[in-house]
């Protein structure tokens, strides 16, 4: 607990100090990797001014976030401009604490599960088992990684509204195993209301309800109904505020039809800049299905590992959403230590990590060369963003594959030649 307190204090101090450096924050908040058309703070400020003029924050194509978030931040800023950065710092702190608690609960459950099935485990697997020291260190590590990940820091000091989405998702995962499906679905509904894509995470809430709840409270439909209820409440409140459905749904239209081709680290912008008009609709469907459909096969495959499912779905959303930014990746990056006991089954972890780091550095460099120095063209930035996406894909599939492999090994033993023969054997994926 002391460790957590120190980490949080340092995180807050670091952010407070960085927020004083106005030139730095201004430079960072203009980075396309940090601020997307959907999350940018300057667009939100523009929305405030436009709503004073026209009465509607969504008139024109400046602001594309949700109605309630803009109203909340607008009132907050009206109270005191200092409150806004304070709230952004608070978002990170609460998210870090939530993730810490979540990691603790999850590992405890895993450990309990492992110990209760000790008789079923294969012999000689002690070296790869989840240990008590994992339970002691990993939650602090999760909070540490979340608070000191450069991606989180730049998101916080640029006041990109993705920080709120991360907070909602962190609170959602923190409540996944606590049993309160009302709280879980509230935060999921808030996140869905904000960015739409997390809608697929409802399946995780349903599976968790089934897996982690006490007997008699395992009705998987309960979270679904709560979720729909909360969403309706949110839409109702925004309808009462805005007076029309059109402006509420305009930001979902913006997410789904991707009209803004401002570069970001995703795969949509350059593709839809370069695609022939004739195929635009077709590929729009292909890309959006890609971001939304994987939850079906994955939730069947990972139905007994809902947290693992949550992890990979969060990855998929942050990689394939229409306007991704580095802030989206912070959540799953901080959850990586949860699978630290399976890391030895990772394939090419060094290459993939270096790939992620390199592209993170290359993106701003390429951007500068293309936009400011005019010594490169759009392809350079596109290449960097494409490699960034590829590294995401490798990390998420490797992590889940490693977890499944580890699971196989603790059940079937570390020695592969099960029949006792001396012949060498390997683990293969088979149909």
């Amino acid at each position: 607990m002391t460790n957590l307190f120190v980490i949080i204090s340092c995180g807050v101090l670091l952010r407070t100090w960085l927020l004083q450096l106005k030139d730095l924050t201004k430079w960072i908040s203009k980075r396309p990797e940090v601020s997307t058309p959907q999350t940018s703070w300057s667009r939100l400020v523009e929305g405030f001014v436009i709503s004073k003029q026209t009465g509607n924050v969504h008139s024109g194509d400046s602001y594309h976030g949700s109605t309630l978030l803009s109203a909340f931040l607008f009132h907050l800023q009206a109270l005191s401009p200092l409150l806004v950065p304070a709230v952004f710092i608070a978002c990170d702190v609460i998210a870090a604490i939530s993730l810490h608690n979540f990691a603790k609960k999850f590992l405890q459950k895993e450990l309990d599960d492992q110990n209760s099935h000790k008789s079923k485990l294969s012999k000689g697997v002690d070296s790869i088992l989840l240990k008590l020291h994992h339970l002691e260190n990993v939650p602090t590590l999760v909070a540490l990684i979340y608070l000191f990940n450069p991606f989180t820091i730049v998101t916080c000091i640029s006041q990109s509204s993705v920080a709120f989405n991360n907070l909602f998702l962190a609170l959602y995962v923190a409540h996944l195993m606590s049993g309160s499906s009302i709280a879980t679905t509230l935060f999921l509904a808030l996140s869905t209301y904000e960015t739409f894509y997390p809608v697929q995470l409802i399946i995780v809430a349903m599976l968790c309800q089934h897996k982690y709840q006490k007997e008699g409270n395992r009705n998987a439909a309960k979270p679904l109904f709560c979720f729909i209820f909360w969403l309706l409440i949110l839409f109702l409140v925004s309808y009462l505020r805005e007076g029309s459905l059109e402006s509420i749904f305009s930001h979902y239209k913006f997410i789904l039809t991707v009209p803004d081709q401002t570069p970001n680290i995703g795969i949509f912008w350059y593709f839809f800049t370069e695609i022939f008009n004739h195929f635009q609709t077709f590929f729009l469907f292909v890309f959006q299905i890609n971001a939304l459909f994987f939850f079906v096969p994955l939730s069947i495959k990972l139905r007994s590992h809902p947290i693992c499912l949550m992890f990979i779905l969060t990855c998929i959303i942050s990689t394939f959403k229409s306007y991704p930014c580095v802030g989206d990746a912070t959540l799953w990056i901080s959850m990586l230590p949860l699978w630290s006991h399976t890391f030895k089954y990772q394939r090419q972890p060094l290459i993939v990590t270096v790939m992620l780091l390199t592209t993170t550095i290359l993106c701003p460099v390429m951007w500068h060369m293309w936009i400011v120095a005019h010594s490169a063209n759009a392809n350079f930035y596109f290449a960097a963003s494409l490699a960034y996406t590829t590294s995401h894909i490798f990390i998420m599939t490797n992590t889940v594959m490693a977890y499944l492999k580890w699971h196989y090994h603790i059940r079937k033993g570390v020695r592969l030649n099960l029949d006792g023969s001396t012949e060498k054997a390997v683990l293969r994926l088979m149909n």
């Binding site: 523009e46 194509d61 400046s62 593709f271 370069e274 596109f382 494409l386 499944l404 012949e423 683990l427």
Partner: protein, 513 residues
């Protein structure tokens, strides 16, 4: 005389029409009149400004006579009727009017093409009508006015007022569009001159020689149609079509030379007697003090006056300096405007320096239209005087743009303090367009329509236009579509393949072969 213009009808029909039209024009000759004038002003001692004005008034009885046109050009009449237009203003300009050096022009116009129209009250589908109208005008003047689409069209609230009488001056009936990149060429001049009753054969229009007009520093043509009242009570109205040409020629080549010139030397032609159809036809000249004009002309106040109806043969008016003129002294303009683009990389901005040299505060209306692909941010708007104090706009209206839709439209009423220079700046982000929406030569950049300052004056308004601003926006690689499609789809395939593996296959131990 003949009032016939080419109609494209068969010959025998033309002959028949000639008889009919002659009769009609004889019977309705009281109802329309044509006035032509030429004003010449020597600007400093380096340039000469010639302003041609041709006015056709048509006092129709009840309604627009749909079939019989006499002096009023049929092509304009038909467009005005078909698209239910109450008032039409169209200018095309090559070059930039130097307000600080030359003072106010007789008719102000921005660089490129500008069209603004008031539709009649009760007109339906105004946007469709506007599209049809710009296409019709485009065909009439051989200009690319059909490119005036929803991306450059605005309906400003206070900058434009009808110049004549209209039933309703609601801004929902107003459409304004501009193309700053549009050049004024001979192919636009020819159809414009064909609208004149005498073409370029008689009167001031005889000077409108396309090749000499193109050898000018500034050239602007305009066409303005509106309805006017006969009397103060406005019991009856008539329609008026005004056609303008403003042209500025250089007259001085070297400093030690007398800048003597004549109409023949700048227009390559002498001045012909008036158009026989013209009710009035005259020339006003505002010469500097030490210039002699031949032939001798009647003096009216500070102006020299010549009635072209009294001319018998083509005349060349000569301007001779009595002594070598001193270096030019710039005219002090009441209000000046100078705009430029700022910013580096994706950030950009428009800065306008507005100068007020008057000894009193001047209230102005500032209008700036910015296309959607430059994402203007109204929260960055600042208006500061040269002493550093902020000026709060008296009134401000900002219409934000839509992606691939209507442009940003900033309109505000400002009070410029006396003898001050006010800096107005507005930031924008350079947007990104898909490769098919870029025009040819995408690396040339895009023009922003000039800012417009409207100053209320005793008779109507005075307008001061800024520069048409060229902005570069980031371009995609136009040779890449197939590569991009392949590369992105490869990454998608990697994701699909890995996730497909993950979800459909399971682990099995197999002997290592």
């Amino acid at each position: 005389y003949t009032t016939l213009r080419p109609t494209g009808q068969p010959m025998h029909f033309n002959v028949l029409l000639f008889v009919v039209v002659s009769t009609v024009s004889a019977s309705t000759s009281n109802n329309d009149s044509f006035h032509e004038s030429l004003n010449i002003r020597v600007l400093g001692n380096e340039q000469v400004y010639s302003f041609f004005n041709f006015t056709t008034n048509w006092d129709f009885e009840n309604e627009f006579n749909k079939t019989h046109y006499n002096l009023f050009p049929r092509s304009i009449g038909q467009i005005v009727q078909k698209y239910e237009i109450a008032e039409l203003h169209f200018t095309m300009t090559q070059g930039l009017w130097r307000y600080q050096l030359w003072g106010f022009p007789d008719a102000s116009a921005p660089t490129g093409a500008q069209v603004w129209v008031w539709f009649k009250k009760g007109t339906r589908n105004i946007d469709d009508k506007w599209k049809g109208f710009t296409n019709a005008l485009s065909g009439t003047f051989c200009a690319s006015l059909n490119l005036i689409n929803h991306e450059v069209t605005v309906s400003p609230k206070v900058s434009f007022r009808p110049t004549g009488v209209v039933e309703s001056a609601d801004n929902s009936l107003l459409r304004h569009g501009g193309l700053s990149r549009e050049n004024l060429c001979t192919e636009n001049l020819t159809p414009w001159m064909k609208l004149l009753p005498c073409g370029s054969k008689h009167g001031p229009s005889s000077l409108l020689n396309p090749s000499s007009l193109q050898h000018s520093r500034y050239l602007s043509i305009g066409l303005h149609y509106n309805s006017l009242c006969h009397d103060v009570a406005c019991s009856s109205t008539y329609v008026q079509l005004q056609q303008h040409v403003s042209v500025v020629h250089d007259i001085r080549t070297t400093l030690d030379q007398y800048p003597n010139f004549s109409l023949a030397s700048i227009f390559d032609r002498p001045l012909h007697p008036s158009c026989p159809l013209a009710t009035t036809s005259h020339t006003h000249i505002a010469p500097p003090l030490d210039v002699d004009i031949t032939p001798t002309m009647e003096t009216r106040g500070q102006l020299k006056y010549l009635d072209l109806r009294n001319l018998n043969s083509p005349t060349n008016i000569k301007f001779t300096w009595r002594r070598l003129p001193r270096s030019p002294t710039p005219e002090t303009m009441g209000i000046g405007s100078h705009c430029y683009i700022t910013g580096l990389g994706q950030d950009g901005g428009i800065t306008c320096l507005l100068t007020n040299n008057e000894h009193y505060n001047v209230s102005i209306i500032f209008l700036q239209v910015i296309p959607w692909y430059l994402r203007a941010q109204i929260h960055t708007l600042t208006v500061k005087t040269n002493t550093g104090s902020d000026i709060e706009p008296t009134w401000l209206s900002f219409t934000p743009a839509h992606i691939r839709g209507s442009p940003h439209n900033l309109e505000m009423v400002l009070s410029l303090p006396r003898e001050s220079r006010v800096t107005l700046s507005l930031g924008f982000d350079r947007g990104f367009m898909t490769w098919v929406t870029h025009p040819p030569d995408a690396n040339h950049g895009f023009y922003i329509q000039p800012s417009m300052i409207t100053i209320p004056a005793p008779h109507g308004v005075v307008r001061v236009y800024g520069e048409a601003l060229l902005v570069n926006i980031p371009v995609p690689d136009f040779s890449m579509p197939y590569n991009v499609i392949c590369l992105v789809c490869t990454v998608l395939a990697i994701a699909f393949g890995s996730l497909h593996n993950l979800s459909t296959r399971k682990f099995e131990v197999v002997p290592k072969s």
